[in-house]
Symmetry: C2
Subunit: 195 residues, 2 copies
């Protein structure tokens, strides 16, 4: 049995989703069509947080009950799974560096706003963008992302994601992965193999 | 054999250090006096980062070679130790909340500086203080702190610290701890017991 753990990006990230359909609901329908054909050979999982995220974008009545049958919802067992200390060690180091950088971004914004008091809204927009880039991009910074990684570890499954933070952690933790942009081709190949 | 893992705060935090001596070097001398009496019954450890921190405050020539004999320097084995996933899960959740708060602190500073352009230095001082409070207080945010926790776990030793972030993690990870402010009394008691 092949197992995949799915990330929101498959159905939401425009670059990835476009291969499956013109909007998240259409993309989900296409995906469920593959999942039906692969039923019995391939299992697809989502963690609770990712499921919630996906359902914010997909029209439930259009994909039910297929989505319930072909996408298995399962939380990771956070009390039994263990993380190698060096992975956490690197996370803490990374976060520390990002926190320092976030303060520099904030100080720059304050100094800019003193010089140009008329553009406060524009400066705050820029602050948000730069702060986000400094503190959040390319890092696992949400429990939703972390749940997904843990679930893949627990199931010895393959993560399917386009998120740099998730893929980086997957690699550190010895988890199999497929880049979401290649996922449709992978599904095509699997369907061809098994039918 | 009783084992303690020591934090910098014992020799540097004024509230704790005062019990041992009028400055970090005197405090270390007093401590080494206890350690000598307890040699053979109690072992004291520091991780490399904590050792470096302590030696920034203590005059090496005044405490050598006793410090080498009675305080064992050892790094944790970060490749063998594992962390329960739920601890990391909570860390990520905590950091995420702090990152959001840090941005609000930064935005407030920008808006203040537009209103009062003459006080930019004061506003930046306040920004640094509030940002630090939002992102760093009460959290294990350095690899030095994390090393100390891992070393205690590896050795099944008792952590001695006055740092809220370290003590919180020690408790989450099932590690024994003594609040650094009580450490002198603990040493007095141990010396009395063993001599």
């Amino acid at each position: 049995m092949i197992r995949f753990v799915l990330d929101t990006s498959i159905f939401v990230n425009p670059d990835v989703r476009a291969k499956f359909g013109k909007n998240p609901t259409e993309a989900m329908k296409t995906f469920l069509n593959y999942a039906e054909k692969l039923f019995g050979s391939v299992e697809f999982y989502v963690s609770p947080g990712i499921h919630r995220e996906i359902m914010n974008f997909v029209e439930e009545e259009e994909v039910s009950p297929d989505i319930e049958i072909y996408i298995i919802k399962k939380p990771p067992n956070v009390h039994d799974i263990k993380i190698p200390a060096f992975v956490v060690y690197e996370l803490i180091e990374d976060i520390r560096r990002r926190i320092d950088k976030g303060l520099r971004v904030a100080e720059t914004a304050v100094r800019e706003s003193v010089i140009d008091t008329s553009s406060v809204d524009r400066i705050i927009q820029k602050l948000r963008r730069n702060y986000r880039r400094a503190l959040r991009e390319g890092i696992v910074d949400s429990k939703e992302d972390f749940e997904l990684i843990l679930l893949a570890k627990e199931l010895d499954a393959t993560i399917v994601s386009a998120d740099v933070g998730i893929l980086t952690w997957a690699q550190k933790m010895g988890i199999k992965w497929v880049d979401a942009v290649k996922f449709k081709e992978v599904l095509d190949e699997l369907v061809e193999k098994w039918s």
